[in-house]
C-alpha cells in the first residue's frame, strides 16, 4: 500500500508540472490554424547539380529576404537535398512576398571570348558571391542612378586581375542573365569597388533600388522555384480552431459519459485518467514544442481513442476475472497483466506506422504521425500507471462486495470462463486463492 501512495503522489506531481507547463508555455499553432503561407522552394541550377554548400547559402539568402518582409516568426527550413520550406504567418501581400522570394540576384562579370569565330561572353569566375555590399548612389557626371559595388577581399583581387587582363577591352555585367552594361576597361581597377550604370538609358530609381536590395539580401546562389504553396486565410483558420475545439469537447464528453454508463466505477477512474492523460500530452506538446496543425489535432483525438481502448481492454479483463470469483486485488492485477500484451502489441504497430509516416510523409502527415506517436506512448503510461494505481487505491483488497460498481450482476459472479492454469501461471498473476 505504501508503494501505491508514493505512486499516487508522483502522479499528482506530474499533473501539477503539466498544468504549470500548460500555463507558462505558449501553444505553437500551425499556419493552417492561424492563417499564413507555407512555400516550398526548389533549387533549380542551370546544370542541375545541387550541393549541400549551395543549399546552405540558398537558405541563408532566403532567410535574409524573409526577414526583410518584416513579419515575425518566419521559418526557413531545409527539406531533403534541394528544397527549402518557408513559412510566413499572416503576410499582407503574399504575391509581392512570393515575387521577392523567388527573385534571383545573379550578378556575373563576363569577358569577351571567341567561340568558333563568333564573339561571345565568357565566364570569369567573378560573381555576386564576391561582393561585400551594394549601395545606391548617383553618377556624379550625369546624375543617373547607379549601383555601387564593394568587393570583399578575394573579390577585390579577382576584380583587379580581371581588369588588368581586360585593359582596352569591354567587360560585361550581367544581372539575372541580362546584360546591364559593358564598359571598356581603360586601366586596372585595384580599389575593390565598381559601379553598374544602366548602360545608355540608365536605371530608374526603382530598378536600381531593387537591384541593391536583392544584392544585399544575399544573392541567391542558385535560382529557386516555388513548387508548392499552401496559404490559409485567417478567417478559415479561426473557423477551424473554433470548430475543432467544439468537436473535441463534444466528442470527449460523450466518450466519458459512455465509459461511466458502461463500466460504472472504473469508468469514472478511466475518465479521470483520461483527463490526466490529456494534461500530460498537452504539456508535452508545449514543452517539446510540437506545432499543432489540423492533422495534428486529428492525431491527438485518435490517440485519445487509443488511450480509451487501453482502459477498455483492462476493464474487460478485470470484469472477467471478477466473474471468475477472484478477489478485487488479484482481479485488477491480472486484468492489467493479461491486457498488457494486447495493448503493447497493438500500440507497437501504431508506432511502426507513425515512424514510417514521419520519415516519408509531407509536413502535414509528419505532424499527424508525431502527435499520434507521442499520444500512444503517453497513453500506455497513463493506462498502466494512472488507471491501475487509482483502481487499487479506490477498491483496495478483499472480495467484491458491490458487483454493480463494475456493472456486473451478483449472479454472474463465479460463472465465468474458468481458466485451467498451471501453478506457474497463477504465480505470475499473483493469484493466491
Amino acid at each position: 500500500m505504501k508503494n501505491k501512495l508514493i505512486m499516487f503522489w508522483a502522479i499528482v506531481l506530474i499533473v501539477i508540472a503539466s498544468i504549470v507547463t500548460i500555463c507558462v508555455k505558449p501553444t505553437k499553432l500551425g499556419l493552417d490554424l492561424v492563417g499564413g503561407s507555407r512555400l516550398v522552394l526548389e533549387a533549380a541550377p542551370t546544370n542541375g547539380i545541387v550541393t549541400p554548400d549551395m543549399m546552405s547559402s540558398l537558405q541563408f539568402a532566403i532567410e535574409n529576404r524573409v526577414n526583410k518582409l518584416g513579419v515575425s516568426e518566419t521559418v526557413v527550413q531545409r527539406s531533403g537535398d534541394k528544397r527549402l520550406v518557408v513559412e510566413i504567418p499572416d503576410v499582407s501581400d503574399l504575391d509581392q512576398a512570393k515575387a521577392y522570394l523567388g527573385e534571383t540576384a545573379e550578378l556575373e562579370f563576363k569577358k569577351p571570348i571567341m567561340i568558333s569565330d563568333v564573339e561571345a561572353w565568357g565566364e570569369t569566375g567573378l560573381t555576386g558571391k564576391d561582393l561585400a555590399k551594394a549601395n545606391l548612389t548617383t553618377n556624379s557626371q550625369n546624375g543617373q542612378w547607379v549601383v555601387g559595388l564593394e568587393f570583399n577581399g578575394e573579390g577585390a583581387k579577382k576584380f583587379a586581375d580581371l581588369t588588368k587582363e581586360l585593359v582596352g577591352k569591354p567587360m560585361a555585367i550581367f544581372f539575372n542573365g541580362e546584360l546591364q552594361s559593358a564598359p571598356r576597361v581603360n586601366e586596372p581597377i585595384t580599389g575593390g569597388s565598381a559601379v553598374i550604370t544602366g548602360g545608355d538609358s540608365g536605371f530608374s530609381y526603382d530598378e536600381a533600388k531593387k537591384m541593391v536590395d536583392l544584392l544585399n539580401a544575399g544573392a541567391l546562389p542558385v535560382p529557386a522555384k516555388i513548387i508548392e504553396e499552401n496559404t490559409v486565410g485567417p478567417t478559415l483558420g479561426a473557423d477551424s480552431i473554433a470548430k475543432s475545439k467544439i468537436a473535441g469537447a463534444i466528442g470527449l464528453g460523450f466518450v466519458m459519459l459512455f465509459m461511466i454508463a458502461y463500466y460504472r466505477a472504473p469508468g469514472i477512474i478511466a475518465d479521470i485518467a483520461l483527463i490526466i492523460y490529456g494534461l500530460i500530452l498537452f504539456a508535452l506538446f508545449k514543452a517539446i514544442p510540437v506545432t499543432l496543425t489540423l492533422a495534428g489535432i486529428a492525431g491527438f483525438i485518435l490517440s485519445v481513442g487509443m488511450a480509451v481502448d487501453a482502459n477498455i481492454l483492462i476493464f474487460e479483463r478485470t470484469k472477467e476475472e471478477l466473474k471468475a470469483g477472484r478477489t478485487l486485488f488479484t482481479a485488477i492485477n491480472s486484468g492489467f497483466d493479461r491486457a498488457f500484451t494486447s495493448i503493447f502489441d497493438s500500440n507497437m504497430t501504431t508506432i511502426i506506422t507513425c515512424v514510417i509516416l514521419y520519415s516519408l510523409g509531407t509536413s502535414i502527415v509528419k505532424g499527424f504521425a508525431l502527435t499520434l506517436a507521442i499520444g500512444v506512448i503517453v497513453s500506455m503510461f497513463s493506462a498502466i500507471t494512472v488507471t491501475k494505481n487509482f483502481m487499487h487505491l479506490v477498491f483496495g483488497t478483499g472480495q467484491l462486495k458491490h458487483p454493480e460498481w463494475f456493472g456486473l450482476r451478483a449472479d454472474e459472479i463465479g460463472e465465468g470462463f474458468k481458466a485451467v492454469e498451471t501453478q506457474r501461471e497463477k504465480a505470475k498473476f499473483g493469484i493466491l486463492d
Binding site: L313, T353, T362, F417
Partner: protein
C-alpha cells in the same frame, strides 16, 4: 449474445464480398474513364495543380457556378474543376460557403490567379481568398510515389512485427484484413468521386494508414486471446471452438473501443472544420469496416487454414 463465427464463416466471407464489390466496380470504371487512370479521383497533391478557395457570404446557386465556369473558360483557363463546400461558421464570421476552383499549376509570376479572382469578384459580393494550395507537377508525382511507398512499408512493417510476435499465417490473415479494409474505403471514395467529385489527397492517405493501424489493433486483440486460450485449452477443444470463445470474449472490447473512437470522429465530422471532413469520413468508414473485418473476416480466414491442417496442431 454469442456469435458463432466458425459455423457461419462462409456467410461472413460472402458478406465481405458484397461490401467490397460495388467499390471495386467503381474503381475499375474510374480507371477506365478518368484521364489520370486512377481508381479514385486524385487531388492536386498527386497530379499537380492549383486550388484556389474563395469564401463567400451566400449560398452558391448552380447558376452562379455555371457563370463562374464560363467566365473562367473565357479567361483562357481550361477545364477548371469547381466544388462547393458548405460552411456553417462557428464563430461570428459570416462565411457561408467556400467555392473551390482547381486549375492547372499556376506558375510564379503568371497572372492566372488574378484572372480567377476577377471572375469570382464579378459574381459574388466581396469574396475572400481563404486558401491557396499549389503543387508543381513533378512534385505531385513524387508525393504519389512516396505515399505508395509509405503504404507498402507500413504493411511490411506490420507483417514483420506480427510474424515476430505471432506466426506468419496470423500476419497474413491480418494483412488480408487490412487489404479488405483499404479496398472498402477506397471503393467508397471512388463512388463519392464519381457522384460528388470528392478527391483524395495526402490527408486521405494519412487516414488510410491510421485505419490500418486501428484495424490491426482489433485483429491483434483477437489473435492475442486465441494465442492465450490455445495455451490452456488446445487439448480439450477444437481450434474452431477456441476461435469462437476468443471472439466472444473480446467482442465487448472490440465494439466498445470502436464505438468510443467513432463517437469522437462523429463529433469531428459534424462539428469540426470543413477542411478535415473527408479525412474524418475516411477514418469513420475505415474504423467501422476494420472492426467488422477483425471480428468476422480475419478470424474466418484463420479458422479455414487451421481447419485444413488440424492434425498437426497439438
Amino acid at each position: 449474445m454469442k456469435l458463432d463465427i466458425v459455423k457461419n464463416k462462409f456467410i461472413f466471407l460472402a458478406l465481405s464480398a458484397i461490401l467490397l464489390i460495388p467499390g471495386i466496380a467503381a474503381m475499375i470504371y474510374s480507371m477506365i474513364t478518368y484521364d489520370t487512370h486512377t481508381p479514385v479521383r486524385v487531388g492536386i497533391d498527386y497530379t499537380g495543380g492549383t486550388t484556389l478557395q474563395y469564401g463567400v457570404k451566400e449560398e452558391i446557386s448552380n447558376n452562379k457556378l455555371a457563370a463562374v465556369r464560363s467566365g473562367l473558360e473565357e479567361a483562357g483557363l481550361e477545364n477548371p474543376s469547381l466544388q462547393i463546400i458548405n460552411v456553417n461558421s462557428a464563430e461570428d464570421s459570416d462565411l457561408k460557403a467556400i467555392l473551390s476552383i482547381r486549375t492547372k499549376f499556376i506558375e510564379e509570376g503568371s497572372d492566372d490567379q488574378a484572372k480567377v479572382t476577377s471572375v469570382v469578384d464579378s459574381q459574388f459580393e466581396a469574396p475572400e481568398l481563404v486558401q491557396v494550395a499549389s503543387v508543381g507537377p513533378t512534385l505531385g508525382q513524387e508525393l504519389f510515389k512516396n505515399s505508395l511507398i509509405a503504404l507498402s512499408l507500413a504493411l511490411l512493417g506490420i507483417v514483420a512485427y506480427l510474424t515476430f510476435r505471432f506466426q506468419f499465417d496470423y500476419a497474413l490473415a491480418a494483412i488480408l484484413g487490412l487489404v479488405h479494409d483499404t479496398i472498402f474505403v477506397l471503393g467508397v471514395f471512388s463512388i463519392l468521386g464519381l457522384y460528388y467529385g470528392v478527391q483524395i489527397d495526402a490527408l486521405f492517405v494519412t487516414a488510410l494508414l491510421t485505419v490500418i493501424g486501428f484495424s490491426v489493433h482489433d485483429t491483434i486483440v483477437v489473435f492475442d486471446r486465441v494465442r492465450e486460450n490455445l495455451k490452456y485449452y488446445s487439448k480439450k477443444m477444437t481450434f474452431g471452438e477456441i476461435m469462437n470463445a476468443s471472439i466472444n470474449q473480446t467482442l465487448a472490447r472490440s465494439i466498445n473501443t470502436s464505438l468510443t473512437t467513432l463517437i469522437t470522429l462523429a463529433a469531428l465530422y459534424f462539428f469540426g472544420g470543413v477542411t478535415t471532413k473527408d479525412f474524418v469520413l475516411a477514418m469513420i468508414l475505415g474504423i467501422a469496416i476494420g472492426t467488422y473485418s477483425s471480428i468476422f473476416f480475419c478470424s474466418s480466414l484463420i479458422e479455414i487454414w487451421e481447419d485444413k491442417k488440424t492434425p498437426a496442431r497439438v
